[in-house]
């Protein structure tokens, strides 16, 4: 198999894994087998996978409240992710974090974040570290359209550009921040227009076209590695499911028409990419089915791993507070 084909098939597998992971997470939460808040990434898979396909393991990212996709795309272990959702000792954060705080520092995943825009300065710090280390590493921060209303967004765009930090600002514009449409909360709907104001390139891309995202990210990464500074990557996508759920999903007030448009096969990032790979003769429908089956088996194994893992010992409550 050519390297290119290996990479493309892996991109497909990751997107399917992210989707199935979150569909399963919703089932598990509905059945109350996991706890707390859940923000499914279904429909936006191409953004995380396209961007992370342009990154190396030594590059660092920060994520959002909707972070499972970023974890998987950066290479996180779904067993430990699932154990974290189950609140178990073998979870990434030993059960202390849950869905909104999964992190894996070993692979450069510096954390999901329950605070809108909260990860942006932290990614900026990781980019500063990369610049000082001078080994060609970069950082990327994922954030939603809603984050553009926060001061932290504007402050970090300015500083990153001023200091020419090797940083990708990846805006996942899924057109809504919780229940609010972008047009209802922004004075200017086009998010890429912030880029020229801060002296950096702003690139709008079809966020449901994984290869387009990867290509845009590659260019931004290459520029960052050369010392050319940050890029604002504006990825236009759509959230298929509700904004968030606890015991039940929050009501979704978006029109059925709109949902149907975005869920159509010609817009679904996975169906589209499958069609591309089949048309190029790189996979068959049977291959895709085999990938899906394997993903389902892997996820079943992850649930088993999580359920076998013990709950954290209450005696360990104070462990991890302070470093030695």
């Amino acid at each position: 198999m050519s390297q290119d084909k290996v990479e493309l098939v892996e991109i497909l597998r990751q997107m399917i894994l992210i989707r199935e992971f979150d569909v399963l997470a919703v089932e598990l939460r509905t059945a109350k087998r996991i706890y707390g808040a859940l923000h499914p990434y279904v429909g936006e898979e191409a953004v995380a996978v396209g961007v992370c396909a342009a990154l190396r393991p030594t590059d660092r990212i920060t994520s959002t409240h909707r972070g499972h996709g970023h974890c998987i795309a950066k290479g996180a272990d779904i067993n430990r992710m699932m154990a974290e959702l189950f609140g178990r000792a073998d979870g990434y954060c030993k059960g202390k974090g849950g869905s909104m705080h999964i992190a894996d520092f070993a692979i450069g995943m510096l954390g999901a974040n329950g605070i809108v825009a909260g990860g942006m300065p932290i990614a900026c710090g990781a980019a500063l570290a990369a610049q000082l280390e001078d080994q060609g590493a970069v950082a990327a921060c994922f954030f939603g359209d809603g984050a553009t209303g926060e001061g932290e967004f504007h402050e970090t765009l300015n500083i990153a550009s001023l200091w020419k930090l090797p940083l990708l600002f990846v805006c996942e514009n899924n057109r809504y921040g919780a229940g609010n449409a972008v047009e209802s909360v922004r004075s200017e709907a086009d998010i890429s227009l912030h880029a020229p104001a801060y002296g950096m390139p702003g690139v709008s891309v079809d966020g449901n076209d994984v290869l387009a995202v990867r290509e845009a990210a590659r260019q931004a990464v290459e520029r960052a590695r050369r010392g050319g500074g940050p890029t604002l990557l504006h990825c236009k996508t759509f959230r298929w499911l509700f904004h968030a759920m606890r015991d039940a999903p929050q009501p979704d007030l978006r029109s059925a028409d709109l949902l149907a448009q975005w869920r159509a096969r010609d817009r679904d990032p996975i169906a589209r990419f499958e069609a591309v790979l089949i048309a190029r003769g790189l996979v068959t429908a049977a291959d895709v089915q085999a990938i899906r089956d394997r993903v389902k088996r892997d996820l079943a194994a992850a649930v088993e791993f999580a359920e076998k893992s013990p709950y954290p010992d209450p005696n360990d409550l104070l462990v991890d507070m302070f470093a030695e």
């Binding site: 992190a103 894996d104 510096l110 605070i115 570290a129 001061g151 932290e152 500083i159 462990v319 302070f322």
Partner: protein, 316 residues
Amino acid sequence: MREITVTQALEEAMIEEMERDERVITFATGRAPALENKFGDRRVRFTPISEAAFTGIGLGAAGSGFRPVVNWGMVTFSFVAMDQIVNQASKIRYMFGGQADFPVTFRCTTGGGIQLAAQHSQSPYSMFMHLAGLKIILPSTPADAKGLLKSAIRDNNPVVFFECSRLAGVTGPVPDGDHTVPIGVADVKRAGRDVTVVGLAYYVREALAVADSLAKDGISIEVLDPRTLVPMDAAAIRASVRRTGRLVVVDEAPATCSAASEIIALVTEDPQTFGALKAPVQRVCAAPVPVPYSPTLEQAALPDRGRIEAAIRRVL
């Protein structure tokens, strides 16, 4: 021993730690020419006036292998960075299960008494103490300032380092060489028998002055400086109170939910220390008002020697 000011002591600490470890970097909204000339503008950065961003940048760089010293200027300005302090820095290690260390030091000036009025005269360290996950330092002498800043920079946790404005120009002896002071260890600044006075920052000096004058009346005051507010050296404070049986706590923050309240709780909830108390404990704190500008009002708002002495006489 040579005598230098708190400000000089802090600058020495910065220079020595930056020489010792090239992963120590620093940023502030103002330039630091002495440091910049020595270490260059890669390691000594001045930033836009974007406290939220550069607080988080410090945290992110700390999680990526550096040892940033982030200077907020006044603690006043940290309030626009509260997300990064409260939601991120104080929680990041624990909520991620101890995967990484975050050796970042946040420096800031604090306190009133110099007519800077409400917004620039704040002493909000108890707000930060309340957040589990930050170490909090508040020194009162040049030697402690230097030794504790060096320890803070070497510590692998987020540390908030408060620098009392009224002490900046105060001189005192500072040992030569690599002088460090351990975090979490209180210091008896004056030994005494009759009353324990726990003072914070500027009020350590004021308590010492009161102790001097009361000594003439045969009253023996022990003055104890916690130096670190998190972790608080409860054992040292309790031991002192068990010896004297009396406690007065002096600080320029208002009393409500203050460091003074915390110190008193640590003393009174310990059965042995509680049993040794001979009088109700006393707080000498600021009035519950934003610190006013006019000297007559400001003096009325903040503790002074008269009020410290009156509190001591109440417990005797």
